[in-house]
C-alpha cells in the first residue's frame, strides 16, 4: 500500500480546497477531516472531539458510512456511529488500516486540522506511518487571521468571542508545531508550499506535487485535480454529520479559476485587525519571512 500524505497547516490555510484538489487525483483517496491523530485509541479520539456542531466527528462518520455502505445517508451515519462505539478499544493505527483496506491501493490524503494542534499528534502520525509524506501548507498570517475571525463570527458566537481571540497566536502555535516536527523527518519527506502560490497557478504546482509523491502527472490526472467538487465529501452531509470540512468549501467546492488567479499576498507591514494599533509580533514576522511572505 502507498504511504499516506498528510497536509499540515494552521486552520484557515486553504487546506480544504488544496486537500480537495490533491484528493481527486486518480491514484489518491482524499479523506474528510477524520482527526485520527488526536489520540492513541478510537475511544480516546472520540471523547476528545468536540460535539459542538459535529465539527470534530462528522468527517470520520461520513467516511465510514461511505466506505461501509457507499452512501452518506442519515441512517448510514448512525450505523457508522454504532460501529465506532463498538470499537473504542481499537488503536489509531488499526483504524487507519481499516480505512486503507476499504480504499484499496490508493494513497490516503488527510488534512485534519487537529493534526497540527499538538506536536504529539504529528509525531503519532509519523510513528504509525514512518514513510508518510507531509505537505506543509502556508497562508499569509494576515489573511489567515481575517479568515479565522470571519469563521468564528459566522459559526461560533460572533463579536463577543472575537475580542478575546488572537488568531495570530493560533497561527504561530500551529506553525511552531509543524516546524519543530519537520526536523524529525527525512530529506524529502516534508515539503512546504505557499497556498497562495499554488492556488494562483495550480497547473504549475500540481504536477510538481505529483512528481514529489510519485503520482502520475499526466493531463488526465491534473484535470481530475481541478475538480474537488467531485469528491463524495465535497458537500454538506446528513443532519448528524453535516461537515467534515470547511463549511465554506462544502457549500461551494468548485474552483473559480478566475478568482484564484487574482489571489494576492497582503503585506506584513502595518497594524493587524485583531490588535488595533499594533503590528505583527516579531516571531510571526520571522516565520512569515522564512515562508516567503513579504
Amino acid at each position: 500500500m502507498p504511504d499516506p500524505l498528510f497536509i499540515i497547516a494552521p486552520p484557515r490555510s486553504y487546506t480544504s480546497v488544496i486537500g480537495g484538489m490533491i484528493g481527486q487525483h486518480p491514484q489518491v483517496y482524499g479523506l474528510p477531516e477524520v482527526n485520527l491523530s488526536h489520540g492513541e485509541t478510537l475511544g480516546e479520539i472520540w471523547n476528545s472531539l468536540s460535539a459542538g456542531l459535529n465539527f470534530g466527528t462528522s468527517g470520520l462518520l461520513r467516511l465510514l458510512a461511505e466506505l461501509h455502505e457507499g452512501a452518506q445517508s442519515e441512517e448510514a451515519v448512525i450505523r457508522a456511529r454504532h460501529w465506532v462505539q463498538r470499537r473504542v478499544h481499537w488503536s489509531t493505527a488499526k483504524v487507519f488500516a481499516h480505512i486503507q483496506e476499504a480504499v484499496g491501493d490508493k494513497m490516503l490524503v488527510d488534512k485534519s486540522p487537529r493534526n497540527t494542534m499538538r506536536t504529539d499528534n504529528l509525531r503519532r502520525l509519523h510513528r504509525i506511518f514512518p514513510a508518510a509524506s507531509f505537505l506543509h501548507l502556508t497562508r499569509h498570517p494576515r489573511s489567515t487571521g481575517k479568515s479565522m475571525l470571519e469563521l468564528m463570527k459566522a459559526y461560533a458566537g460572533g463579536e463577543s468571542q472575537r475580542a478575546e481571540f488572537d488568531p495570530e497566536q493560533l497561527w504561530l502555535r500551529s506553525q511552531g508545531h509543524i516546524v519543530e516536527f519537520s526536523h524529525d523527518l527525512a530529506l524529502g519527506q516534508y515539503m512546504r508550499i505557499k497556498g497562495e502560490m499554488l492556488l494562483a497557478d495550480p497547473l504549475l504546482y500540481l504536477p510538481q506535487i505529483c512528481d514529489w509523491l510519485g503520482l502520475s502527472s499526466d493531463a488526465a490526472s491534473i484535470e481530475a485535480m481541478l475538480h474537488p467538487e467531485t469528491s463524495a465529501f465535497a458537500s454538506i452531509g446528513p443532519p448528524s454529520a453535516p461537515f467534515g470540512n470547511d463549511p465554506n468549501f462544502l457549500n461551494a467546492p468548485a474552483l473559480d479559476m478566475a478568482r484564484l488567479a487574482r489571489i494576492t499576498e497582503p503585506s506584513l507591514e502595518g497594524d493587524v485587525d485583531w490588535r488595533p494599533g499594533e503590528p505583527f509580533s516579531k516571531p510571526v514576522l520571522r516565520l512569515s519571512r522564512q515562508f516567503g511572505y513579504g
Partner: protein
C-alpha cells in the same frame, strides 16, 4: 581524474605566520610565480593586529611578509571605531592601530595605466576600506580613497576583473556609533577601467533598484557575464548578471530571486565559481548559522548550479516547489551537505578537473556556548566533486584543529591546491569561559595554510 585526499594536505603555514591576531587567511592569489596571501585580524585589539600580505616562494617553501599596514595614531573618533572591533569593548585601549586590519580580496589585473599585470588588494580598515596596488609584489600603494569617499565603508571585497575593468564590493559599515560587518552604507558594485588612477564609479543602481537588497556580497565572472549576489534579509538573496558593455551603470538582469525560493534561509550568496560551463553558487547566513541582527535562521547553506540560459539545479539543500519547477538536491544531501552546522560555502576552487568547496562550520561554537562542558568537536569541511552533483568529503573537523572553523580561501595554483583557514581559538575560549563550555585543548591562534 582523481580527487585529492586528506593525506595529501601538508601544512605550509600555521599560527597566522607568527601573528596570533591574524585569524583569517582571507584572500589568496598567484602572482609572479609565487603565492600571495592576504591576512586579516577582524577583531584587532591593537597595533600588532595588522592587515598583512605574505608571499610564499614555492621553490623554497619560505614565507616573506611583503606588506604590513602602517600604524596610525587614533584620535577619539578612531578609538571609538576601534572599540567596536572587540565587540564594543577594547580591553587594552590602543593609541594606534593599523591603517588596515585586513586584506580581504586579491586579484591580478591589468587595466588602463598598468604596464603589466598588477596585484590589487582590497582592505578592511577603521578609516574606510581601500584598494592597494602593487607592480612588483613588494610595494603596495593605495589607489582608492578610503571607502571610495565614504570612510564608514569598512571593507573593499570581491575584486574581480571582467571585460578589461576591475570590479569591487564595498562591505560593512564602521563608525564611532557602531559596526555592521555585513551591511555597507550602500549596496553597490564599484568599477574602474583604470584602477591605477583611483577613479571608481557605480556599476549598478543602488541595490539593483531593490531597497531590500542590503548588500552586494559576491562577484564572479562566468559564462561571459559578471555575476553579482546580494544579501537580502527580507526575501532571500538575489543573483544579477551583466555583460558590462557601454558606460556604467550597466544594464543588469536578475537571474535568481527570493533566495532561489528558499527565502530568508538563503539570506545571502557566498562563494561562487564557474565549473564545467555552469555557475556554482554557495549560500550563507551570517553569524553562527543564525543572523541575530535580523533574526534569521538557524539554517545551513546550500549549493546551486546555474546554467547560462538561467535554468538551475539544487545541488544540496532543501527540496522545494518553485516557479522554476520541483527542485530536489541532485546530491541527495540536505542543507549544509547534511550537516546543520555548515552555515556557509566560504570558498571554491577548480583544481585538477574537480570543484572544491570549503565550509564554515559552527559546531565548535555551539558546543562552547551550549555544550555544558562537553569536548569541542567539528571544524571546517572541504568537499570535492568531479561532476558537480556527487560530492565526497576531503577534509573534515578542521583537518585536526577544532578551532579552524572555516575555509576562508581556496586557490588552485601550479604547485597544487592551497587552503587558508579561519581560526576561532580566541572566540571559542571566550565563549567557553562565559558559558561554562569546555576549554580548547589547543591554544593555537591564527590562520593555517595547507597545500595539496
Amino acid at each position: 581524474m582523481s580527487l585529492l585526499d586528506a593525506a595529501q594536505f601538508l601544512p605550509v603555514a600555521s599560527g597566522g605566520l607568527g601573528h596570533s591576531g591574524s585569524t583569517l587567511a582571507h584572500a589568496m592569489v598567484w602572482f609572479r610565480d609565487a603565492l600571495y596571501l592576504g591576512a586579516s585580524a577582524p577583531a584587532a585589539r591593537g597595533p600588532e593586529d595588522l592587515g598583512r600580505i605574505h608571499r610564499l616562494d614555492p621553490a623554497t617553501g619560505a614565507w616573506a611578509e611583503v606588506h604590513a599596514a602602517p600604524v596610525l595614531a587614533l584620535d577619539e573618533g578612531g578609538k571609538a571605531r576601534a572599540a567596536w572591533l572587540g565587540g564594543g569593548v577594547l580591553r587594552q585601549r590602543a593609541g594606534a592601530m593599523g591603517r588596515e586590519v585586513g586584506i580581504c580580496a586579491m586579484t591580478v589585473f591589468q587595466g588602463a595605466g598598468d604596464a603589466a599585470p598588477c596585484l590589487y588588494a582590497g582592505t578592511m580598515s577603521l578609516w574606510g576600506g581601500q584598494v592597494l596596488r602593487s607592480e612588483d609584489g613588494e610595494t603596495f600603494t593605495p589607489v582608492m580613497a578610503p571607502g571610495n569617499g565614504d570612510d564608514s565603508v569598512m571593507s573593499i571585497r570581491g575584486l574581480t576583473g571582467f571585460g578589461g575593468r576591475l570590479f569591487a564590493l564595498p562591505s560593512g559599515t564602521i563608525t564611532a556609533e557602531g559596526l555592521d560587518r555585513e551591511r555597507a552604507p550602500q549596496a553597490t558594485v564599484l568599477v574602474s577601467d583604470g584602477p591605477a588612477g583611483g577613479i571608481w564609479t557605480e556599476a549598478c543602481l543602488p541595490g539593483f533598484g531593490d531597497p531590500s537588497n542590503r548588500g552586494v556580497v559576491s562577484l564572479c565572472a562566468a559564462q561571459g557575464y559578471l555575476y553579482a549576489g546580494t544579501a537580502n534579509t527580507a526575501r532571500g538573496f538575489q543573483l544579477w548578471r551583466t555583460r558590462a558593455e557601454g558606460a556604467a551603470p550597466y544594464p543588469w538582469e536578475r537571474v535568481l530571486t527570493d533566495g532561489a525560493f528558499r527565502f530568508t534561509h538563503n539570506l545571502s550568496t557566498a562563494a561562487m565559481a564557474e565549473f564545467g560551463g555552469d555557475l556554482y553558487i554557495g549560500t550563507r547566513i551570517p553569524g553562527f548559522g543564525h543572523d541575530p541582527d535580523n533574526d534569521v535562521g538557524p539554517a545551513a547553506c546550500e549549493l546551486i548550479r546555474l546554467r547560462q540560459d538561467g535554468s538551475w539545479d539544487l545541488i544540496f539543500g532543501e527540496p522545494r516547489f518553485t516557479p522554476d519547477g520541483l527542485k530536489v538536491p541532485l546530491s541527495a544531501m540536505g542543507p549544509g551537505l547534511g550537516d546543520p552546522y555548515n552555515s556557509a560555502i566560504w570558498s571554491m576552487a577548480v583544481h585538477g578537473g574537480a570543484l572544491y568547496i570549503g565550509t564554515q562550520n559552527w559546531e565548535p561554537n555551539d558546543l562552547a556556548l551550549n555544550g555544558g562542558g562537553a569536548p569541542l568537536r567539528g571544524g571546517f569541511q572541504l568537499w570535492a566533486s568531479t561532476d558537480g552533483a556527487s560530492w565526497v568529503p576531503v577534509l573534515i573537523d578542521g583537518n585536526g584543529s577544532v578551532a579552524s572553523t572555516g575555509v576562508r580561501a581556496l586557490l588552485a595554483t601550479p604547485v597544487g591546491l592551497i587552503l587558508g583557514t579561519q581560526n576561532h581559538s580566541r572566540l571559542l575560549q571566550t565563549q567557553a569561559l562565559l558559558h561554562g563550555g569546555a576549554d580548547l585543548a589547543e591554544a593555537s591562534a591564527g590562520f593555517d595554510v595547507w597545500l595539496a
